[in-house]
Symmetry: C2
């Protein structure tokens, strides 16, 4: 086949989701004899690892988002549609969306994960998740609004609730978020709110297991806990949340904390449209896939990244929900789709683990690369470098770099703005923009 | 009096509004024997001259906003409250706000201006204003949403409506906005939306008088019109809007344009809380003040900036609604308040006009400084320099500078993101965040 044949005759690959996995897949299908359709409910890619900096006023939202259309500028076989997928109809190879139905030859779910409240409507209503940019901005507004309110509150219990920050979940997000709130407290609040007794601001990190950063090395876990404690965060491990009614959070160790600021980073679950048989859903709400990322029971539907659980002997719960897994699966699937179309044998996925890292605060991070483990200031520079390089787009890299340099020398965080005030009661599916 | 006397005994000055005027006033009252209270419905200062760049995806909202608390960090006689003032009660020297009542010895309204729809509920509902950051972000979302919708619209009239952009009002805002939309069209849309016939995108600038940039020199007016026309903007002067129902805009020359994108920058009016007697309100809804910015009929209530109309022989309609007027009035009032407190004679206000300028697009701006007038690339650099230097905060200057340099060389605009989708029907007073 020659490449000047109109691409309309080529098989149609629909990719749902423009995250790390979807982007890799679509990019690697450039100049291949397929039509690529990407659908996403946002018109931008979100760099999720830095959401916590948006939520705590360190970075503008716009520097960690990148327009999806721009990523694929000039890619001739690529079409983007900004829409929400409502359901998958495998029986007739089509999907239903808010802008109509689309047929596919191959369908790839790269839909990522969403916050897991483990079925609790109460926690879903009263705690703050942070998986999307609108959610991170809601969190920023709420934290700042509660500080403003604390200044005019005379009731000591209500005031304490406004100044107690409780982060639930000691994974990388929870560690980074509680560390960032501590820096906000120590470097910014005492200058911005001279009327406030900064000692009244308390930060708790609640983790159900006995360690923070569960999947990392013992050295990393230990250092992260030490760093957090040096920074004044109360790290409470081996304790789970029993209930939270919007005012008091009750823990499994009988402790109760009054708080208006409960941030939920205790779990994620696969996030996908209706239409996939329940038989294929495993722990964490992920979809079971084979070594080629094909969803069991379907010949032409695939899932990659966070939403997929590739269960093998080495990965009994699937791979970790991190960007490199999604990217590697996306890249391999681009090759395998072409092989499948050409009736060749696809290659099985092998994860190449480049290591993991988390930052706690200024000069304090932890890095595990295979057997190499280091913590502290060098780890922090490595963390910054890796994240900067992973950001999509030169402008974003530049703006984030400028912000970080500036914050490092000024001890400041620039964007503590309440642009859209947060109002829990007026939140609907529609306005929360998940 | 010594300055270690508790400031609580000092006269209490309440400043409503943290715009250019309010900030100058409060800053210049630093170390003076008064208590300064600033109230603002936002917790940040907005650099309004660059709102049009936020609306068209050129700058992040966070780079043209600056936290008010941070501006006054370390100013001991300063207190900030994030609240909406509901009414003024001059009879007992107090104001009512959403967080309770406040007493004052001196009250200064620095509340600026709001969009003037000249009483038309229809225009207020269907057109897009751009006076605040949330409004600029709504505009950005709406423009991008309509482009996405145009791609899937098959009805040619509906499609045309989505691709026709009508800016009403040929003042600096309208000129800058229509110029920026033209740059978006020529440099960005044709790359981002390869499916779109870029020739189908039409931009109109509608102005009621016979010239754009009314208050500027004839050379500036002529150049601005030429620049706009070179850039493909249809400049329609001497024509007013008769009606707009959300689909068709009818003009006074009998022309009708189908458009889903009508941007309203045709007028402003003073914006202030209830409680000022109607006798003192003049043309444009501004409050009549004397040469000392005192509101007629009150001994201790002042108004500065856009909301104030200081009517003299030289200024029969008051001063222009621009930042330098507000800043100079704020600065002088800080001196005059101290004089008044000390029973000295206050100084009358004299406006020092530093000139005016407007930018149309890349390398195209117009500048009038007294009798000196120039247009084109040098004017554009002057415009950029002056605006950059006027931005509050080093971080903002740096981030805006980086963005401009990057845009200049890449011909790109970085932030075309739909973060909060705009939905006219769900807009309420509350969610619009005026």
């Amino acid at each position: 086949m020659k490449s000047n044949i109109p691409p309309v005759n080529f098989p149609k690959v629909i990719i749902v989701g423009g995250g790390f996995g979807g982007i890799q897949l679509a990019k690697n299908l450039n100049n291949k004899e397929v039509q690529v359709f990407m659908l996403d409910r946002h018109n931008y890619h979100t760099f999720q690892p830095l959401l916590y900096q948006v939520a705590t006023g360190g970075l503008e939202a716009d520097s960690i988002a990148f327009p999806l259309r721009k990523i694929f500028k000039g890619q001739k076989n690529f079409t983007f549609r900004n829409t929400d997928v409502l359901s998958i109809n495998p029986e007739n190879n089509s999907i239903s969306t808010t802008i109509g139905d689309f047929d596919y030859d191959y369908l790839v779910l790269a839909t990522g994960s969403d916050t897991n409240f483990f079925g609790s409507k109460e926690l879903e209503h009263f705690t703050m998740p942070m998986k999307t940019i609108p959610e991170a901005l809601n969190l920023r507004s709420m934290l700042l609004q509660n500080l403003e309110e604390a200044l005019i509150e005379h009731d000591p219990v209500k005031k304490a609730a406004l100044l107690n920050f409780v982060v639930v979940g000691g994974g990388p997000t929870g560690v980074e978020l509680s560390g960032a709130i501590s820096e906000l407290k120590r470097h910014v609040l005492k200058k911005d709110y001279p009327e406030l007794n900064i000692g009244d601001v308390n930060i708790y990190l609640i983790e159900g297991s006995n360690v923070v950063l569960g999947p990392m090395s013992v050295q990393a876990q230990r250092s992260a806990k030490e760093f957090l404690e040096e920074m004044g965060v109360n790290v409470v491990t081996g304790v789970t949340v029993v209930s939270y009614d919007g005012d008091v959070i009750k823990l499994s160790n009988e402790v109760e904390i009054v708080s208006k600021n409960v941030l939920w980073s205790a779990g994620v679950k696969g996030n996908f449209p209706e239409g996939i048989s329940n038989d294929h859903i495993v722990r964490g709400g992920r979809i079971k896939v084979d070594r080629f990322n094909r969803i069991e029971g379907y010949s032409n539907i695939f899932a990659i990244g966070d939403v997929a659980a590739m269960i093998t002997n080495e990965t009994p719960n699937g791979h970790p929900g991190v960007a490199p897994v999604a990217m590697q699966q996306g890249k391999l699937l681009s090759k395998n789709l072409i092989k499948i179309i050409n009736k060749e044998e696809p290659e099985p996925f092998e994860y190449f683990d480049k290591g993991s890292m988390a930052t706690v605060g200024r000069n304090r991070a932890v890095v595990d690369i295979g057997k190499i483990r280091f913590q502290g200031i060098f780890a922090w520079f490595v963390w910054m470098f890796v994240h900067l390089m992973s950001l999509v787009g030169f402008r974003n890299k530049l703006v984030v770099f400028v912000n970080w340099i500036w914050s490092y020398f000024s001890f400041d965080r620039g964007t503590r703005l309440i642009i859209r005030p947060f109002n829990r009661e007026s939140m609907t599916e529609d306005t929360s923009n998940k």
